[in-house]
């Protein structure tokens, strides 16, 4: 059965809903404590949002050194899917599992609102359930979401189709991110980081299900990599 590990650092605060969203697609989901050195058999790792270590110094700068991150590195190196949401994205950048960095929003204010995004890369374990170019609306809630990288890195990301999620327009860009980048992936397409919160948009009661695709994709990815067993 698909097993999803949700990392828990001190100061993370989106782990409950992330776990719920994972369970909603029929996965076994469990927390992985920051001091653990193993992922508890997780097929997929999700680093949820929040304020690991209070975001002191820089968002994600301290969490990056937690013992569990070694296991995440190995998992990623072995081609295991890793999704970083918001603070998780920041941690992945600080840990150099993704290029670039996330800086203070250009208006210097925390911003919490729904934003329009375009799914530009569906060849990942987290976005296969979307169609290329699909417009979705997801909640954002962050103070440090301005994606920056040097020009070479940006050129490479664009050339290799590694921009997974983009704010639909300059007007929709809530933080001044370069090239309206809302989410990217590593060269192998296994490690993905995004600023918006899909786990907050998986239930019609809370206004939108546009984020459910991220978790459905995980289930699809797992199903495909499993040999179909004769009994089923």
């Amino acid at each position: 059965m698909l097993s999803i590990g949700v990392l828990r650092f001190p100061g993370i605060n989106c782990e409950e809903e992330t776990l719920r969203a994972a369970e909603r697609v029929g996965a076994e989901a469990h927390y992985v404590w920051h001091r653990d050195t193993s992922l508890g058999g997780a097929d997929v790792v999700v680093i949820p949002g929040g304020f690991s270590y209070g975001d002191y110094l820089r968002a994600g700068a301290i969490a990056r050194f937690s013992p569990v991150m070694a296991a995440v590195r190995d998992h990623a190196a072995a081609g295991g899917p890793v999704l970083g949401i918001c603070n998780g994205f920041q941690i992945l950048c600080e840990a150099h599992l993704l290029p670039g960095a996330l800086m203070r929003n250009h208006r210097l204010r925390y911003v919490s609102r729904p934003v329009r995004c375009i799914v530009e890369q569906t060849g990942t374990a987290f976005t296969s359930a979307y169609v290329h170019g699909q417009a979705i609306e997801l909640p954002i809630a962050h103070g440090d979401g301005r994606y920056v990288a040097d020009t070479d890195t940006l050129r490479m990301l664009e050339a290799e189709g590694r921009v997974v999620l983009r704010y639909a327009s300059d007007a929709d860009n809530p933080n001044g991110a370069m090239s309206n980048i809302a989410g990217i992936m590593n060269a192998g397409g296994t490690v993905v980081g995004i600023m918006p919160h899909p786990e907050r948009a998986t239930d019609p009661l809370v206004g939108s299900t546009d984020g459910a695709g991220f978790f459905i994709s995980i289930a699809d990815w797992y199903a495909l990599r499993q040999p179909v067993s004769p009994t089923s």
């Binding site: 270590y53 209070g54 002191y56 110094l57 700068a61 301290i62 050194f65």
Partner: protein, 83 residues
């Protein structure tokens, strides 16, 4: 003349400094020998025209008192370099 003014704005002694605490904790877990203290504040670099260093410093101090530092919580330190 053009000067490079370096302003350091630090939390008052005695005030809680959560950032400093967190950094100190992080550095110790990274295995650095124990530190006496770590405080985190703001660094501000200002390039300005002034007749001489004294004028540049005086203006910078005035800026600190009016805007750059929060008198209720912060102390500031100003130094001037010719650039």
């Amino acid at each position: 003349m053009t000067f490079r003014v370096l302003v350091r704005v630090m939390p008052r002694q005695g005030l809680l400094d959560p950032q400093g605490q967190a950094v100190e904790h992080a550095l110790s877990t990274l295995g650095y020998p124990p530190l006496q203290s770590v405080r985190v504040g703001r660094a501000i670099e200002i390039g300005m025209e002034a007749a001489d260093a004294a004028e540049a410093e005086a203006r910078a101090r005035d800026m600190c008192e009016r805007v750059l530092a929060n008198p209720v919580m912060e102390d500031f330190h100003v130094s001037v370099e010719v650039s």
